[in-house]
């Protein structure tokens, strides 16, 4: 009895050990240049879209996609930690301003992706380093069982009627929320005082985008300020009691930049992946995930189109400068 167990355990650990060896070997092979069999992409949520894009790219080109999914904050941290030994080829962030600061650090490769003539105006930067293949906008998401009807503007959400009902995604984790706050502070006259008035009205920070939406879905909070729209649309499609609107004074539409790193170990694959992001197939996947497609000729049927979203005038250079400080400030206001 005892022997057979020992044998079994030994056999099991041997199998697992071999499996691990196999894995390591394949990774080592991948790192040699002539075999260029993979591309490493760091992508933010939604996870479903990232998986589908990876799958479709592999089906089309035969190149394996190694992906790391995380929030914008986690991706940036990972890049920083790996500075000595870069792993990533392509990085997609959910925040244009973070993309711009990566460009300012001189980390990005310039490239003109196929089909760039059809891309929305301004969604590829002047130096051809940031490629906005999709975008999200933030809006006000509310739980219809808590607040049946809502159309308040940003500043109205500080009204006593909404005391302790409002929440916001953590801007240090959600790139979209961070850029919105930066836009609000730089693009409107009283952005800072609006932030303060929300904080005074009991604003809470439940977590990254999805965690914040969760607090509103369960009815713990009634209203989510600066919630990313694609999350709301997909939850609404499932049947959750939610609704979304874009306040009249305007919001920030945030192109999600895909970027090729100068240090990319597989440069050719990286370029092929960026080309693929603007293909019909990938753009359709983007639209299906309730994101705004990067090409102007792709329309979405399941959500508000770009032209119908009121926007705050955005000065990205200015926003990039204040984005991180504004995010930190909001968190300290709500602490």
């Amino acid at each position: 009895m005892k022997k057979s167990i020992v044998c079994l355990l030994l056999a099991l650990s041997l199998c697992l050990g071999l499996a691990a060896c196999g894995q390591k070997q394949s990774q080592e092979q991948d790192q040699t240049p002539q075999l260029s069999g993979k591309v490493t992409v760091y992508m933010p949520s939604p996870a479903g879209l990232a998986d589908k894009l990876a799958e479709a790219f592999t089906a089309k080109t035969g190149v394996e996609v190694e992906q790391f999914q995380g929030t914008t904050g986690e991706i940036l941290a990972r890049l920083e930690a790996e500075q000595a030994n870069p792993v990533a080829d392509v990085v997609i962030l959910a925040s244009w301003s973070d993309g711009l600061s990566m460009k300012a650090d001189g980390k990005l490769e310039s490239y003109t992706p196929a089909g760039s003539d059809k891309v929305n105006k301004g969604w590829i930067d002047s130096d051809n380093t940031l490629f906005g293949s999709s975008a999200s906008a933030v809006g006000v998401i509310y739980n219809t069982t808590v607040v049946p009807e809502l159309n308040a503007d940003w500043s109205d959400l500080a009204d006593a009627r909404y005391k302790d009902m409002i929440a916001i995604p953590d801007p240090e984790k959600s790139g979209a929320c961070k850029d919105f706050l930066a836009g609000l502070v730089t693009g409107t006259a009283d952005g800072e005082s609006i932030m303060q008035s929300w904080a005074d009205n009991g604003l809470t920070v439940p977590g990254a985008n999805k965690a914040a939406l969760e607090a509103v879905t369960t009815g713990e909070k009634g209203i989510l300020i600066a919630g990313v729209d694609y999350n709301a649309y997909s939850s609404m499609a499932k049947g959750e009691p939610l609704n979304i609107y874009y306040p009249a004074s305007g919001t920030v539409v945030n192109p999600r930049p895909a970027m090729i790193l100068k240090t990319a170990p597989d440069m050719d694959n990286a370029k092929a992946f960026v080309d693929f992001l603007f293909s019909d197939e990938a753009q359709q996947l983007v639209a299906d995930a309730y994101l705004l497609p990067g090409r102007s000729d792709v329309q979405c049927e399941n959500r508000t189109n770009l032209s119908d979203i009121p926007q705050i005038p955005t000065d990205w250079a200015k926003m990039m400068d204040v984005a991180s400080d504004t995010a930190a400030k909001l968190n300290s206001l709500c602490k």
Binding site: G17, G73, A77, A81, K210, E214
Partner: protein, 553 residues
């Protein structure tokens, strides 16, 4: 003659080098990172970082939390241990298993369960709408202390219970003969005899609380209560990252833990009594009256309800809810989340990865740990002390510190040994963290072996390796297996290590759950949690069956 000595010592020296590389080097890297700023030693700036008001607040928060959790878990553990050791409840051995459940539950899941239960429009308010906003009072420091105490109290309880069982009835009876009342006996005989063990238990609870990441991350963050671990994690994973800062926080944490160990050692040494001798002794029994019995069962039921009932109700019901917006309502239940879990490759691969990590790290730990214990028993002087000390070090230190050290150290030597960013680094980190378990289990198995058995083996002509294989190994195998099992269970659900050093594309069970909580569906995460608990419980039951049978044979 000298040559033989060298040959004899070689394994010990090799082990010492191995342990130094695995455990000491990362730790030294942390300290170095904290004091070396921009390439030169800068104690002034290191001190500035440490003394910044934010850090001082974090340190105070952690210490306060540690003390409160020790107090609160004492309140839960002492009466329960007494009931289970000394009253009629002692014969119900299934209670021992029940009380291990809170400890087996991954803390981040249990605290998530509590949050979902207590929050506004949460499960409690859905079940008892009449109570109004009462349950939201849970979201305060007290709630955090309660949840953390409920996780660690089984630890303290088991320790106290075993200590109580070792106090022979004769001591108390002699007290009674000399006319001491119950209260006096409790104060002057019972309590002093337990002080040494209590100090060890309390210290472990304290260190565990300081090192715990899951609960402060889920619940603490929500109430704005930041501690060491959450800050260290934040500085190392969220941009802008600041390893220097997390290293300096880690260094303070290490110092605090070391001071606590010294204090505990002192208390235990001053309060240890030889209670276990060769002579037979019978444990004392208190007969409870009928009312006392009812009270005892009520207490046990209350503890079980709070420690197990609430979180599990919350976890299981959440994993079955279809639409989160409608909560507990007829027709809003589904098994879809489990179906989704078992059909998505990502979920399945995370389970396999966790199993792989748990099995491989447990196996490697068993081999290295047994070798270390065997070497320690043979070694003398410095070698012995160093081996023993280093191998037990990871248990005394918060795991997050070691993980940060491993990250920094292996990144620094990436050019020499490109292990970082592979699954190998995870196995390595797990082995470092869990080595003390094997060492402790095997050491205690060794102490039960009488030397005369080994001498008999040698007298009858067995070579040392033969004696080891046929006499020693079979006798310590149970200790090795117990250590293996313990490591398997803890490694399977490890969160903080996995979230810090997992390479891209690698999700394990804990990070999968965390990711679902943060970016996907809470219900899916809870379904995975249920699956995770089922897997570890099954493993434990199989293990108990197997060892139980061995005993019978």
């Amino acid at each position: 003659m000298r040559q033989i000595d060298l040959k004899k010592n070689l394994p010990q020296v090799l082990l010492l080098v191995l342990l130094t590389g695995l455990i000491l080097c990362p730790l030294i890297t942390v300290f170095a990172k904290a004091v070396i700023i921009d390439g030169r030693l800068d104690l002034y700036q290191a001190w500035q970082t440490i003394a910044s008001s934010e850090n001082v607040q974090t340190v105070c928060n952690s210490l306060l939390l540690g003390v409160c959790v020790v107090l609160c878990s004492t309140v839960i553990a002492v009466p329960t241990a007494y009931l289970l050791a000394r009253t009629q409840l002692a014969k119900h051995s299934w209670l021992d298993i029940i009380f291990m459940i809170p400890f087996m539950t991954p803390p981040y899941i249990a605290s998530m369960g509590w949050i979902l239960f207590m929050q506004k429009k949460g499960l409690f308010q859905q079940l008892f709408p009449a109570t109004g906003a009462w349950s939201e009072g849970f979201f305060c420091f007290g709630g955090l202390v309660l949840v953390m105490s409920l996780h660690v109290f089984p630890f303290l309880m088991t320790m106290l219970k075993n200590a109580m069982l070792n106090i022979p009835a004769s001591l108390e009876e002699s007290g009674a003969v000399f006319g001491a009342g119950f209260g006096l006996r409790l104060r002057r005989i019972f309590a002093p005899l337990l002080t040494g063990n209590y100090a060890i238990g309390a210290l472990l609870v304290f260190v565990k609380t300081l090192s715990e990441y899951g609960t402060p991350y889920t619940l603490g963050r929500r109430i704005g209560f930041y501690v060491f671990t959450t800050d260290i994690h934040r500085y190392s994973t969220t941009a802008p990252i600041d390893f220097g800062r997390s290293a300096s926080l880690s260094s303070i944490l290490v110092c605090i833990c070391m001071v606590m160990w010294l204090m505990q050692n002192d208390i235990t040494n001053r309060n240890s009594y030889r209670l276990v001798s060769g002579k037979g002794s019978r444990p004392a029994q208190t007969k409870l009256s009928a009312a006392g019995k009812i009270g005892a069962w009520l207490w046990v039921a209350l503890v079980v309800l709070v420690a197990i009932g609430v979180p599990y109700f919350s976890i299981i019901s959440t994993s079955l809810i279809k639409l989160r917006g409608y909560g507990l309502a007829a027709g809003n239940f589904t098994l879809d989340h489990y179906k989704e879990l078992l059909t998505t490759p990502k979920a399945l691969s995370s389970i396999w990865k966790s199993l792989f990590l748990a099995v491989s790290s447990a196996t490697i730990c068993s081999v290295i740990g047994t070798a270390v214990v065997a070497a320690v028993r043979r070694a003398k002087g410095f070698c012995k002390k160093a081996l023993e000390g280093i191998s037990l070090l990871p248990e005394m230190l918060p795991s997050i510190v070691l993980v940060i050290g491993i990250m920094l150290f292996w990144n620094a030597i990436y050019k020499v040994l490109p292990l970082y960013n592979t699954i190998g680094i995870m196995v390595l980190a797990y082995v470092v963290l869990y080595l003390p378990y094997t060492v402790q289990y095997v050491t205690s198995a060794f102490t039960q072996i009488n030397d005369s058995l080994l001498q008999a083996g040698r007298v009858f002509g067995g070579t040392p390796s033969y004696v080891f294989r046929r006499v020693t190994l079979p006798m310590i195998s149970r200790g090795i297996f117990a250590g293996w099992m313990m490591i398997f269970i803890i490694a399977f659900r490890e969160l903080v290590t996995a979230s810090l050093i997992a390479p891209p594309n690698t999700l394990v069970v804990s990070t999968y759950i965390n990711r679902e909580f943060e970016q996907g569906s809470v219900s899916l995460g809870m379904a995975m949690a249920v699956l995770c608990v089922l897997i570890t419980t099954t493993a434990l039951l199989v293990f108990n069956r197997v060892t139980g049978k061995e005993k019978g044979a």
